[in-house]
Symmetry: C4
Subunit: 250 residues, 4 copies
């Protein structure tokens, strides 16, 4: 199967922006997406299961079960704001091939809905954070880089891992522009402060006012959900990651 | 190939319940399914091979061979009892993707036979068991939760691994309801006592009388079969499992 | 791609027997197949590449290259002997799924050529061999078991790994009968003696006289080929194998 | 998806030679390909993404992103020189199956453009290099071997890993001839000297004059790109490679 997509509705959108919000470093994107869904009262229109998600379910307090899942939400812009598609989920794919497949499926859906612009959010792991967290950007094209730099960000230097990283290339293949916002974070817990900084840049980019008073509760909910799936842990997996990947090399 | 399904017969069933009974923690589901097949004189109607099963065969005492295999059985309810489909096998799939594929294939077959309800059984590993083993439940919807709680079970808190776990989400995608019964077990041997407790709840749910005198022989047979495939071992693999899965994370 | 099959010729055969001869324990099947190809002057009619073979080539003394490969040969029986298909190769697949796929493809070809009977050969690893090596058998059905026991073999007790093991189940799905001949071997080098014993039973089964004087040179050639691919090694991999396979378990 | 190919142009070529230049031992092929693209002012006509590449992006100094990618370039021969297709990229595939798939796709494209001849380049790792590096060859057929030996090379003895290795077999299946040029290298850094030696043989084979003055800058650029992807490292991965591959064996 790889990906199984169930679409409840095919929304009619005008030039929507796709915002990716899956769990990752500092859980920044995940908190931000959940918060946006709440604040913008976004509507769920698709659910995605993948055979490269974990093979388990977790239980909720009332005896129901929750599966590893990705979801797509939309909200129509008010007063000339842009339409938005939010890609939310409680997991990324467990394999590299699964990541590419998932990303390709979501981009295909977004493109069919008229999307030409993709935004990914993420954390940039630091050993130590002093002062307010810095926001970094990387983009598909020079024009977008300039635009995002104008919002008070710096140029990102390094690697962007996972879905946020492969979105760029796969979006470009579909003639979509894209940029990433990354923010300083220790990366080991759901970082509401880092998320707040990212959302503040994002809201300026979208010319959209996003209330931030309820952000902490989105961070709390993110923590609860990801803990139930065993996805919040202290272990630094990056070393293992490297070790697994370069089978063909040297 | 992934899954190769050979259907001997397409039984005509009325609103059947699918009961999953593959090897897992405490081998509870596997013993229960084998016992039900014996007691209900269920009839085999399909066999499933998967390229994600082990690549070996084992020999039987009379010189014949036995392959890693899943099977589907049915029995027509007597005196107004419900029709039942039993999913039995000597293995689960060895990969996450294989688990999803296998589960999806079986659910597709069950749905085509009119099934709208799925039950999974399993063990809930404990370090120590004092007194009679407790039964826990988790379900797709609040109504089912209430119904199963009424049979003397508690709400399950935690993760449900493997096929039993992914059944929930994949069943929901096919508009099927489902619940899991999990029972305290040490988990390291085929646990006839734990199975007896689960079957007693199950028989009340199905309004069906299930004789339990021959349960020990089903446990013995389960032990023999799974030992021949090298599937009964003392090693706790959960830690390894965790280590393998979170490649994309942090 | 998984498997890429190139058929040079579609031979017209009458009720042929398929004999599997890939590298495995003691390299018994591999030596036997190579020897049969030489002795029976079998003709190559198909070559199979798989994306689950090693990703390398080896060089030969004259500067040419040799790829990981499986091949199918046939020979028409003389004087009422049966037609034979020989499945030869310098490797098995590297993944479980690859093994199933490869096996399925070869069985499909064999079935299309009228084959209803499959023979696999292999070594049965022993710590120590005293006296002439014993031959063991396992078969798809009781009648075949009796027939092979009548040739001086014993009933095999244990697991049959790899292609030889999965052939049984996949052949049965295609309504083909099958049996395995396994022979005592230390398993760590190309064992010409063990191969000689197996071929002697096989020739009686096939009512076919197979010269054995040149068997040692087939063993030598097998050694040379497999060493060039790095496939002859002392390491016991079985433990690792176990560790890798049971991800879903306990 | 496995491979996603975007062709910008379908060039009209006459009997072109395909030259493979992906990162590998000593980065010889990768430097050579980049240098050829520069020197011959080759034109990019296709880009290939694969779900078996790394799931990340890297940033460039000006804030743009770079994805794991393979590309195809062509240049039309001047003054009777042969047309050339150059296969360049910043990565090989991360899995064996991915390597086969990638290679098959590129060969299919090359064949459709009239290619009947494939050249792969690579390093031959040595513990120590004394004097000018020796060039070794291996080829699909005896005639080609002789021709390449005539250019001052020796016969390669050993294994050719990765894409360079599997090209041979997959090219042969498509009725294409091929040869490999391998050169002594320590293998742990982008080796401009080794590349220079290989290019000198290649230019004689192609009867083409290739300027080498700017080769060092191609080596520098290769180093920068591969370092950004984390692909230049000191670790000897070959042992790990062996350990991973022989799951089915002994």
């Amino acid at each position: 199967m790889v990906c199984l997509v169930e679409m409840y509705e095919k929304p009619s959108l005008k030039d929507p922006v796709l915002i990716e919000g899956l769990p990752g470093i500092g859980f920044v994107a995940n908190i931000a997406a959940l918060h946006l869904i709440h604040e913008l009262q976004a509507k769920r229109f698709a659910e995605i299961h993948s055979s490269t998600f974990q093979d388990l379910a977790v239980t909720t307090e009332d005896g129901k079960t929750r599966s590893p899942l990705n979801e797509l939400y939309y909200c129509k812009g008010r007063d000339g704001e842009r339409d938005i598609i939010i890609w939310y989920g409680n997991t990324q794919a467990l394999t590299t091939a699964g990541q590419y497949e998932l990303c390709g499926r979501v981009l295909d859906i977004a493109k069919e809905l008229g999307c030409k612009y993709v935004i990914t959010l993420g954390g940039f792991r630091q050993e130590e954070i002093r002062g307010p967290p810095q926001i970094y950007c990387a983009a598909s094209d020079r024009e977008t880089v300039e635009r995002i730099l104008g919002l008070g960000t710096k140029i990102m230097v390094g690697q962007i891992f996972g879905i946020a990283g492969i979105m760029v290339g796969l979006a470009r293949l579909r003639r979509m522009k894209s940029f990433s916002l990354l923010v300083d974070t220790l990366g080991t817990y759901p970082d509401a402060d880092a998320t707040r900084s990212v959302l503040s840049v994002l809201s300026r980019f979208l010319h959209m006012s996003i209330g931030l008073t309820r952000l902490n509760s989105a961070a709390e909910e993110t923590k609860r959900i990801l803990e139930s799936f065993g996805l919040i842990r202290n272990v630094v997996e990056e070393k293992k990651r490297e070790e697994q990947q370069f089978r063909w090399f040297i």
